[in-house]
Structures are given as C-alpha cells and as structure tokens.
C-alpha cells in the first residue's frame, strides 16, 4: 500500500498552516479530529464544508463521521459569527434569576432568535450552558467578557452601542 500523503492546503491563507500544525503535532491521527476542529474554529471563526473536508481527508476520517462530530458538539459553528457576540448564560442559577427575560428582550430588540446573527452581520445572539460564574447570575458574555448581575436594560444598552458602531 502506498504511503498516505495528506491533501494540499486549501489555499495560501497562512491560517491553514496553523491547522496543519495541530494535525502534525498529533501525527495525523484520527483522534485529533476534535482538537483540529477547535484550531480551525479559533483561526477562522467557524467551520465550513471546505475546512471540514480538508481536515477529514488529512486525518482519514470519513466525511460523514467528521460532519457527525461537528454537528454533535454545540461549541462548533457552521456559520460565521457576527462582529460582536452577546452570549446569555442559560444555566440553572441564571435561569432562576431571570436569564430567560434577558434572552426575550435581546431577541425582540434584534429581531432574531438565539443562535442567529443580525442580517448586517453586526451582532450574534447566543445562549450558553453555564459559564461557571453562577454566583454573579444572571451572566452575559459580551464578546467573551463576563458581565454579572445583568438587567435587561443593560443588555439593550450594550446591543445599542454595538448596533450603531
């Protein structure tokens, strides 16, 4: 059997070299699939068919299996994120302290539902399964930064600032 040669990088974009680095570090072993997908997502912001195909071919993972993994884990996104992201924690402590009202207020203001991005690509509205800052509930991650004891007004103010940028 001829030795396996990984496929060429999809483009000259340097980020593919980082992706390839993760796979090389793991000896192009199949078990590096999730690690590599993490690298792709942190480099490109999301995963698309081309990147999944490249990773699957490189690691010799069947395409359907790779797609099954990508869609199993909610951390992976198949769509590019907005310029800004508001992630409202929907963990138990936050729920008990009214995080569902924050979500409803944000959905109404942006005209989208959780998991979506506004048409202008400015704001993504996400919910999280507990970020572990329960003692400050309800919690919102504004572009990754934890803001605790948030009110609906504060969420709307933040969205307003992002929307007019």
């Amino acid at each position: 059997m001829p030795a396996f040669t990984p496929p060429p990088l999809p483009s000259s974009d340097n980020r593919w070299k980082i992706v390839n680095g993760t796979m090389r570090k793991n000896g192009f072993a199949r078990h590096a699939l999730i690690e590599t997908l993490h690298t792709v997502q942190s480099a490109f912001g999301y995963l698309d068919d081309d990147s999944i195909r490249f990773v699957a071919r490189s690691l010799r993972v069947p395409l359907s299996q790779a797609y099954g993994v990508v869609t199993f884990y909610h951390y992976f996104s198949l769509k590019p994120p907005g310029k800004h992201t508001a992630t409202i924690c929907a963990g138990t402590a936050c729920y008990i302290k009214g995080s569902d009202k924050l979500v409803a207020a944000a959905e109404k203001r942006l005209g989208i539902t959780r998991g979506q991005t506004t048409k202008d690509g400015q704001i993504s509205l996400m919910t999280a399964r507990c970020v572990g800052a329960c003692s400050r509930a309800p919690v919102v991650l504004c572009d990754g930064e934890v803001v605790g004891e948030v009110t609906a007004e504060q969420v709307l103010e933040q969205l307003e600032r992002w929307a007019v940028e």
Partner: protein
Amino acid sequence: MTIEELEQVAKSVCQENEKYDFEVNVCMDLACMSQGADRLREALEKAAGASDKHVLVRRTGCMGPCSSGPLVRVDPEETLYHHVNAGHAEAIVASLGGAPVPELQCDLNDHFDRQVRVVLENAGHIDPEKIDDYIARDGYKALLTALTEMTPSGVIHRITESGLRGRGGGGYPTGLKWGTVAKAGGELKYVVCNGDEGDPGAFMDRSVMEGDPHRVIEGMAIAAYAVGASKGFIYVRAEYPVAVSRLTTALRDTRRRGLLGSGICNTPFNFDVEIRLGAGAFVCGEETALLASIEGRRGAPKPRPPYPAVSGLWGKPTLINNVETFANIAPIVRNGGKWFANMGSERSKGTKVFALTGKIANTGLVEVPMGIKLREIIEVIGGGVPDGHTFKAVQTGGPSGGCIPAEMLDLGVSYDALMAVGSIMGSGGMIVMDDTSCMVNVARFFVEFCMTESCGKCIPCRAGTAQMFTLLSRICEGSGTMEDLDLLVSLCNTIKETSLCGLGMTAPNPVLSTLKYFKNEYIEHIVHKRCPAGVCNMEAHASEVSKEVLA
C-alpha cells in the same frame, strides 16, 4: 527532583516571602474578575510600589464568597475585605501595619467557621501560575512520598482506607476503582481526569482547576503510579478557557521541574498528561462518552460492561476520576487514610465542595464536612434567602438531581441521604429557590436541558425527554390535563429504567422530585390554570390551541 530538592524549593519560597512584611492576596477568580479584580490588582501593585512598606501583592484562586467580590485578604493579619475596587488600593496599602480599613471589612465569620477546607486549602493562598507557591504548601510531597516510600498497592490501600468516593456524582468508592484498574492486564493504561463540569449551576471544578491546578496534576500522577498508567488526559470544557490556560502553564512547569515525564524522582515511573478540550456536550461527563470524545468521536455513551477500568481509551484499561476526586488525593496520601475517614458521615467521608447559588445571600464556593445539615449550609453559611422572600427548595445534582423542600432541611448531606429523598449528590451544584420560583417551570427547564443534551442514541432518552418536555410545556401553558400528568409519570418510569446511560436514567429526577414534594403546584396549573409563583404565562393557552387546530 528529589524530596530534598523539593524541600529546598519550599524553603527558598518561604525565605523570599519573609522579605515582605505584608501579603495582599487578590482573588482573581471569574466572579471577582468580572467585577474588576484585575484593575484592582494593578492599582494595589502600584500603591505597594509607591509605598515604603514591603508588600507582596499576589493573585489567587477563588476565596469563596463570590457575592462579596472583589475580595482581598491581607496576611499575616488575615483581614478580609469585600467589594473592593481599584479606588480602595491606596487606603488598603496605607492601612497595613495599622488598623484595617473599616468600610471594607467583611464579617463572614459564620460563613467560614462551619467550613472545613481540604480541597480548597490552597485557594486564596497561592498564585495558581506559580509552581513554587504550590510546593511551598507541601505540593508534590505526596507524589514523591508515594514514589519513594510506598508501593502502588500501598497507595491504593490508603485511598481505600480513607473511604473517598467519586466526587463526580456517582459516589463509587475510589479505592475500589483504582484497584480494578491496577489489576487489569496490559502494558498500556490511561488515567483520565473528568473536568467536563457540565452541570449548569456548578463551578467547583472550574475553581479548582483555575485556582490550584497542580493539585489536580499531583492527584493524577499518584493515581497513575498506583494503577500502573503512563499517560493521562485532562478533559476540560472549552467554556473554561482560563482553566485550560492555567493547566497548560502548570503542566509545562511540572515537566520543567521533572515532576512529569520519564524517570520521575529518579524512579522508573514515567507519566505525562495532555489536555483535551470538550466542545459543548453535557453527555461527555458520562465516562464512556467522555472517552469517545477524547478519541475524536461523537460523545455517545456505550453500554457497560465492559467498564473503562477494563476496556477504556482505545480499548486499554482506563481510570476516570473527577477533578475534585483527584484534588483529594494528595492530602490523603500526606495525612493518611484515617485522617480523611475521621471527617464526614458514616458512609460518606471527607468534605464536599458545593457551589451555592440562586436565591441566597452568600453565593459562592463552600467546602463542608459530609453529614452537615442542609439547613446549616443554607441558613448559616449561605446567610439564608435575601430580600424578605421565603425558602422553597434547594436543587442538588443538576439536571440529574432533584428539588428538596423546606421540611427536609435537617437532612445531613451524604450520597445515600440525598438519594433517599429523590435527589443526588451530583458534582456539587446547590441552587436555592424561593417563593418566586415555579417548581413546574423548574422541572421543565431541566427536562429541556436533558432533551437538548441527549446524544440521541437510545430511544427512551432521545424521544422520551422530548415527550416529557411537550407534556410539561402543556402544563406550564395551562393546556395540560390530569391524563397528561399520568402519561408523564409513566414515561418517567420507562425513561429511568430503560435508558442507556446516566443522563437518561436520571433525566426524570427533577420531574419526579417536584411531583413528590410540590404536586399541589402541578394541580394548580392543571386544574385551576394558575401558576402560584406567577412565573408561567397561562394566557398563551388560547392562541396555542388555535395553532394546534391549524396544524
């Protein structure tokens, strides 16, 4: 590194610390950080630099009462300051050596006095990114003692003697698990640390990994020596980036010190650890699903047996313990099994860390001896329910657990006692609910959680949780019937008995426990179309019916 070298490091850290007259410890855990702890630390460093006093400003892990953050503790006086911001830095530094700053002083004696700190003994005392800080507080002494003075079976014996049970929720005796892996044949074995803290409302493991990462690594290394493993994995949620970065730093420093790698402490023992990131799947807390995820696959559980102890990662014998379990190992090896067994209740030994959250005055992390009454945790340590509301229930065990009503608050916390009342110990989330929480709505919340987190492999969990959610939604919206309630109970029974893994088997718990203790709330919703807590919107009912007709 040898024990002598270790002691040398500890000594030099102490000598270094003695150069300072005061230590100002700043809690840099997530909750305090979200209230400006990093700016506070910078301001304190600036103020300390400008002052002629010898002051060491140190960042530490979680000090506990997060609702009082940002927190600062001044040593050697052990003065605790709460709600500190950068503007207070100069006043704090100026007060050193004199009277404390009165308006910042925090009186939480009741909160701290009832706690016993084993797992959290270093939290608030060391810089989590400095291995020498850990070594100065007896860090890695247990590992080196085990390697040089104890046999692997001696280590297992000590763990068995301690009575330690798995802190991930199941409560399986740790010594027994280690013994099974040790007995399993084969050259290659693995040790896996389950840091996939998925229970919403729980953050004990995050705080331990962020505040004292070396403690977890030391526990894993001792376990590896005991069971004969040479390779370890820490599986951490991707939602915990700080924990990942602290663990990465800790692993690098441990390798540099020769405490991981080959020939540790001039013995034939080899061990190294890799970090694996989760990707947002609660079911990966289940051990067979976690292993599938480490292998790069969908996190779908497999029927057991075979247990991972016999056939785990890539079919090799694998020991899986939770973060808090590993965090208990070093003190047990150092102090002996009997020391640990002296704490706690008859069948639940030692201490347990709980994340106390919800409608309670002092939210945060607490560590209490097993057997302590729930009332003491909630009313004394937690300071009770604030804002004039009344206590309704405490939820333990996350989506797999149950709600415990006020009349059961004198229950002593142990694996068996919680199980007997329809909840579980779980990993340690403890969420307090008051009269503004609707128990039907809470049950629906947990069932929705289980529905979206179900892997979909087995039918009872996949389709059953979805049906439970539909039935509960009907009740919450005012269109539920008493027949729906019977259907719900029958479903719960089948899902509990027939599901493939723990997620499905325990998914009905929040429903069953609220039905047991708060059935009147269900009846109110169904018969009188009324939500006693005023949470559920019953008016939606009319429009829902018309939609159903159209569909």
